[in-house]
Subunit: 228 residues, 2 copies
């Protein structure tokens, strides 16, 4: 999926044009998405101002946006932290993801070209390589990329934005999956999705996506129990 709320940026990356708050937002977003932050970790404004070499205002705005995305939670008092998911949160996310991402997969099926499928295949291969080499960061990145690229072909920017928001919510909790990373090999749902895309079978794609989502959320759930 594409970055949501993407501020218009210069087409082919001139360097210094992006405002500071946007840079901070993108940086934190990536860090949250790829498990650089631990669930429960406190996020302080002044801590970020130091490490990112910017003032408080851009940091405040970025944090506020991430709270709005559900990527961070406001702790009642004024503290902000990375969310710790409970079982019902995971159920809830699973349900929401299933509703949205199955539909996106269904819609994408009739719109992907054979070349698109090859690209997805290549990403999935890279994902397998990351798994076999124990490259956790690579695994998370390629997995995210697989969904991102697939959804980009659905021609449904609004729904895709919403799906993207949901990923931010469980990003930090994916890190704990890393513990038993090579030990157990689950059935690869991405292969099923690719198969459905090749057959141009929307319902099958939606079904496979639903299984992939459920499997991912189950991993998070297992990591949750492990943590306790």
């Amino acid at each position: 999926m594409r970055p949501p709320n993407s501020q218009p940026s210069e087409a082919s990356g001139s360097g210094a044009k992006a405002p500071a708050h946007e840079t901070v937002y993108q940086t934190l977003r990536k860090q949250i998405l790829f498990g650089d932050f631990a669930p429960g970790q406190a996020v302080t404004i002044q801590g970020l101002t130091g490490s990112l070499n910017v003032g408080m205002t851009p940091v405040r705005e970025a944090i506020r946006r991430l709270i709005s995305d559900g990527a961070l939670v406001f702790q009642g008092n004024r503290r902000v932290s990375v969310p710790i998911l409970c079982a019902s949160d995971i159920d809830e996310l699973n349900y929401a993801r299933k509703t949205i991402e199955c539909e996106i997969a269904r819609r994408a099926t009739s719109r992907v070209s054979p070349e698109d499928i090859l690209e997805l295949q290549a990403i999935d291969d890279a994902l397998d390589r990351a798994i076999s080499t124990g490259d956790v960061a690579g695994y998370l990145a390629q997995n995210y990329r697989f969904h991102t690229v697939l959804y980009s072909h659905a021609d449904a920017p609004v729904l895709t934005d919403l799906a993207d928001r949901l990923w931010l919510r469980f990003g930090p909790s994916l890190r704990v999956v890393c513990g038993r990373f090579g030990t157990q090999s689950f059935p690869d749902r991405h292969k099923d999705i690719l198969e459905a895309l090749r057959k141009a079978d929307s319902e099958l794609a939606a079904l496979a996506m639903g299984r992939d989502v459920a499997q991912g959320m189950e991993q998070v759930s297992l990591g949750l129990d492990e943590g306790n």
Copy 2:
């Protein structure tokens, strides 16, 4: 639907506890949702600081949050304005709403109590009264409330939040519907939804909700053509 990203507030409303940026956000949110702003209207920070009697920082944060919600759009240069929906935007919103709100309606069906249905009935009656008296603000408020209350019974906070975000996107465009307000009376889909709820028929409820959403979006679309 409930206000998304609702900051924890004091249980039974002590007045002065909410931070300024939260107050500003809620105020602007309501104004956008109920058509106080016109599509295309420019939103400036300094304009709001004056009218709301707060500094720039809270206003900045509120605006940033609303941009993240899709309620305002960042115009590439540093300008912010109320979104003008084009035909494809409306299609897109219709599709996203259909996906999400039908599912919420489906889920709510098995969870509403007879008392809840009576409450929804009362809201719909109030809505009819607002229509017959030409009370535009009341119509918008009751219509929003009908969906809010129904969705609150679905026990799906994440999806409900997402649905809530979508409403913000077409809120300003609803105002133009007011022009031909009493002239044409469309079939009341809320009645169909209530009927489905009474029968506890989830699929029927989802279907009726889909029709209600489509009808609403069609109204927005007609208003769009009118404006040109």
